[in-house]
């Protein structure tokens, strides 16, 4: 019995981050009558930290766009009317809000600040930076020039809001990280376990692979490391999941958060879903795309879905080891130091080997040092097996 049912539904402002209370649609990729398939990107939403491209989770047709560009919309409020294929979903959530295991846990890190009066009626003339500055400074509509495009400099020239320095995205990002780290350190009883992993053979294989490839097809060490970490996490379920309330809830998949530094300062931690299913080639392709989009400020909703475990990597030029701070509500963070040529011991002889200090920061409520040691052993094991 396959009748195609259709129902009218509302597409709602998604929560793009645990502390998000509102967002603004700054660009629509669809118009009335447009059809979207599952996973299609349909709009760009501005949050205080980043512009995120949002997607639909079920095939649908967009009937009516309900909000103006730049209009502040609370999370959960409708932004479009759509017609969805298929019978009504059992839960009360709408198309844009699939069931999430950690929704109940989303911490309120900050309360929404009182919003300054909306600054303009003709938002399409204002650039995103202008809108943000106008909001931050409480700019009055009447102060705006009547004609022409309004840029951030236009707002700054008005001199409203005093000499307050422009509160740019990277400040907000740093604040968000600061709050998260503060909370993590206060709430999670951290322990750290380290292990030296011999990377020599894996890197030799990597170099061989790269030797026959043109630059844009080459792999970086991180691709191999992250694939190994993800597989090791799949082998060690006690580290892959979330602390909710008073107990550990395992994740069904290894969704790996990777700490990426932005060139302009600060970090962003996008999620690589089902990372344990990727081999190093696939991981490299995912990383290349993520890094490029993260730096361009074009992350997508699916990139910032909750991770079940995260990893931070010093790269080639960082320090020997990193002992990290867990990103709640996760229960572990894998730290990877810079690979360094060091004396190793093989068969009783001291030989130069490429070694990396790997660490696990663990939530001692969820697991203990033995589990972390096991995770580190599994990482070493998978590195020997890569790809």
């Amino acid at each position: 019995m396959t009748t195609l049912e259709q129902r009218s539904d509302l597409f709602r402002m998604p929560a793009l981050g645990a502390d998000m209370t509102e967002g603004r649609v700054v660009e629509w990729y669809v118009g009335p009558g447009a059809r979207a398939e599952r996973g299609d990107l349909v709009a760009v939403v501005e949050t205080d930290k980043a512009d995120i491209e949002i997607e639909v989770f079920e095939p649908c047709v967009f009937d009516q766009l309900l909000v103006q560009l730049g209009e502040a919309v609370a999370v959960g409020e409708p932004i479009a009317r759509i017609t969805v294929d298929g019978p009504p979903r059992p839960s009360t959530s709408s198309v844009g809000d699939p069931a999430e295991p950690v929704v109940a846990v989303t911490p309120t890190l900050t309360t929404a600040p009182a919003r300054p009066p909306d600054a303009t009626t003709s938002r399409s003339r204002m650039t995103p930076r202008a809108r943000r500055l106008a909001r931050e400074r409480g700019v009055d509509v009447d102060d705006l020039p009547r004609e022409g495009a309004i840029t951030g400099d236009t707002i700054l020239r008005l001199g409203v809001g005093g000499d307050r320095p422009e509160r740019d995205r990277s400040s907000n990002l740093r604040d968000a990280v600061a709050r998260l780290m503060e909370r993590s350190w206060a709430e999670i009883p951290h322990y750290h376990v380290t292990s030296t992993i011999d990377l020599t053979d894996a890197m030799r294989r990597l170099d061989e692979t790269n030797s026959s490839r043109s630059a844009h097809d080459r792999l970086v060490p991180a691709a191999i490391l992250y694939a190994a970490v993800a597989r090791a996490a799949a082998d060690t379920p006690q580290v892959n999941g979330w602390w909710q309330g008073h107990s550990f809830v395992p994740s069904e998949s290894v969704d790996l958060g990777v700490v990426l530094s932005l060139r302009t300062g600060g970090v962003v931690v996008p999620t690589i879903p089902a990372a344990d299913r990727l081999d190093s080639e696939e991981m490299m392709a995912v990383l290349r795309d993520l890094v490029e989009r993260a730096r361009r400020g074009r992350l997508r909703e699916r990139d910032i879905r909750p991770a079940s475990l995260s990893t931070t990597n010093m790269g080639e030029r960082g320090a020997g080891a990193v002992l990290g701070i867990i990103h709640p509500p996760q229960v572990a963070l894998v730290g990877l130091g810079s690979p360094q040529l060091r004396p190793g011991v093989i068969g009783g002889d001291v030989v130069p080997r490429l070694l990396v200090e790997a660490s696990v920061a663990g939530d001692h409520r969820a697991h203990d040092g033995l589990v972390a040691a096991r995770l580190l052993k599994r990482i070493a094991h998978h590195l020997e097996d890569m790809p």
Partner: protein, 94 residues
């Protein structure tokens, strides 16, 4: 699609522009031409690969993995590109 008779100076210019393309926050004109760009411009491994790719795109010259050390400094990279373009480099077979 290689450029005819590339000069050292034009190669240096090309490299500096390419660095700025992949790392827009860097003022490439301020980079010492004999310094390691990975350190001075803080290019990580992905950035460095992106730099090599950009140069390949613009000159048709691919730097094999075995020869990447030549590309660590702006001067070294420029010398390498001049040699390869003028047919004097090794251009190791891939």
């Amino acid at each position: 699609m290689t450029e005819p008779a590339v000069t050292h100076a034009s190669a240096v210019e090309l490299i500096r522009e390419s660095i700025e393309r992949i790392a827009p926050d860097v003022d490439a004109s301020a980079l010492p031409s004999d310094a390691d760009v990975r350190v001075e411009a803080e290019l990580d491994s992905m950035d460095f690969i992106a730099l090599l790719s950009t140069i390949t795109e613009r000159t048709g010259i691919d730097v094999p993995e075995s020869e990447v050390a030549a590309a660590h400094t702006i001067d070294g990279f420029a010398d390498y590109l001049v040699k390869r373009t003028n047919g004097l480099g090794t251009g190791a077979s891939t």
